[in-house]
Assembly symmetry: none
């Protein structure tokens, strides 16, 4: 059963992600933190980020939770099964964005707490800022990386 | 004319599919059983399955009934005619998910009773759990397998 | 925090609702049982029920969970604030069906487990069948009735 | 031209709103802060709030910005012209939720900075928590109140 992530911690996580982007000089980001059921806890958009970023960030996090994998595993599967992922996205209105930058959040025992999705720069930079923030906040990241 | 599958038997079929998944140790599943007209009789989601699974399971069963073939035949056709399947999915809002795990249900005389769709693990494991449940319940499976 | 309702119990609850309708001679029903986050656990449609019933049953349960009230309280509020409910339904694609027959499910300590929505006969008969099934299964019903 | 509200201040405003709700003992809230163009800066949902609240909070803020009035003025107009507001909501997919709890945010010179929308308790309580937070953060509220 899922443990609980509260809105204060979710807001800290999203804000830390946007601040890391500014510090590192990558493009302005949006970050969405969802609970384990896919409902929003915190969504922040850097006021300089373009306006589709919040929706894409939310989609990255929703897709990870909806399918049960981090974004890197979704990306691998989408490459292996393009027709399946095309059909899922027609079916769900684009709920599954299969790229890095969607990360499952777990506690120390591995229980699912929710997910974060980030959008604004390259997928690798999006993910990098989220990973720094997740470590800072003391959660565990599941990116879907086979080595991770 | 189609013969009739009642809700009690449809519920047994969906429940048996989810129980086989647990017994075999595959990932938690959702299973959707539709009547021959494509309308739901029973949809069950293992409470541990991720939340897009019911929609995908329903889509697998809808696609089989909507096109008149089991999922394996849909998969072959989607590979041969990707533009056709892309267009169908834009047209229908993703009603056709062309992978194994969608199975037409027939009676002993081959008459169409409905379909089951399963999602949660690999397509092969999804289909395997459904086939065990279909046999248990005494129905006949049409997976679209050329040899089947 | 929400406690857990498993798919076996959810399926029993939905099946018991449909059986009470048959026993009482009311019109054939559909019943949807959702977890506390609004995701489906069990959806059953009497094979004699008309085909929009599953969607309406799901909408009744979703609306209760999405707004945090049983269907009778939603009905009172919709009567007092029609413009608000019209707007919500345009916004959410009809997620809030403000009539009896949507019931929050609680455990003995009052914790939210999920909701059931029922459709097929009058709202009062829909609710009556669900209440009999909830009692049979040993859960606690929150209909939003001010006296309840 | 609109002055700028940054994401840090927007996040503080949303968080302060949710904290006032907890302190006052009203129901758990969601709060959405949008920039003057209607795009999200900060959306927070108390982890105890029901799941449609973020969408409704966003709708309240969007409607104020989209029409150029605070929620109290929208409510008055919806009561005077129900057919117009029904048509707007069909047209826009429910972008205009005409009730208190949507508030335009202005700077000391009256320039538009964005809007906040709040949902979870009665419209009056939603608005009350937002007004306390707006004062705390040092912005100016335009609720659409004729006396305001």
């Amino acid at each position: 059963m899922s443990a609980l992530l509260d809105f204060e911690r979710a807001a800290q996580l999203a804000a830390a992600t946007l601040r890391h982007a500014r510090r590192l000089g990558v493009r302005p980001l949006a970050a969405a933190v969802l609970d384990a059921a896919g409902h929003p806890l915190a969504l922040l958009r850097d006021e300089q980020a373009s306006f589709l970023r919040p929706q894409i960030a939310t989609g990255k996090a929703r897709g990870c939770l909806g399918m049960g994998f981090g974004g890197r595993e979704l990306a691998r599967r989408a490459q292996a099964m393009p027709a399946f992922f095309d059909a899922i996205n027609s079916l769900t209105g684009g709920e599954v964005i299969p790229v890095p930058g969607g990360i499952l959040l777990r506690d120390a025992e591995g229980r699912l707490l929710g997910a974060i999705g980030v959008s604004g720069d390259t997928s690798d930079n999006d993910e990098r800022c989220a990973l720094l923030a997740i470590e800072e906040i003391g959660l565990h990241a599941d990116t879907g990386d086979a080595q991770g």
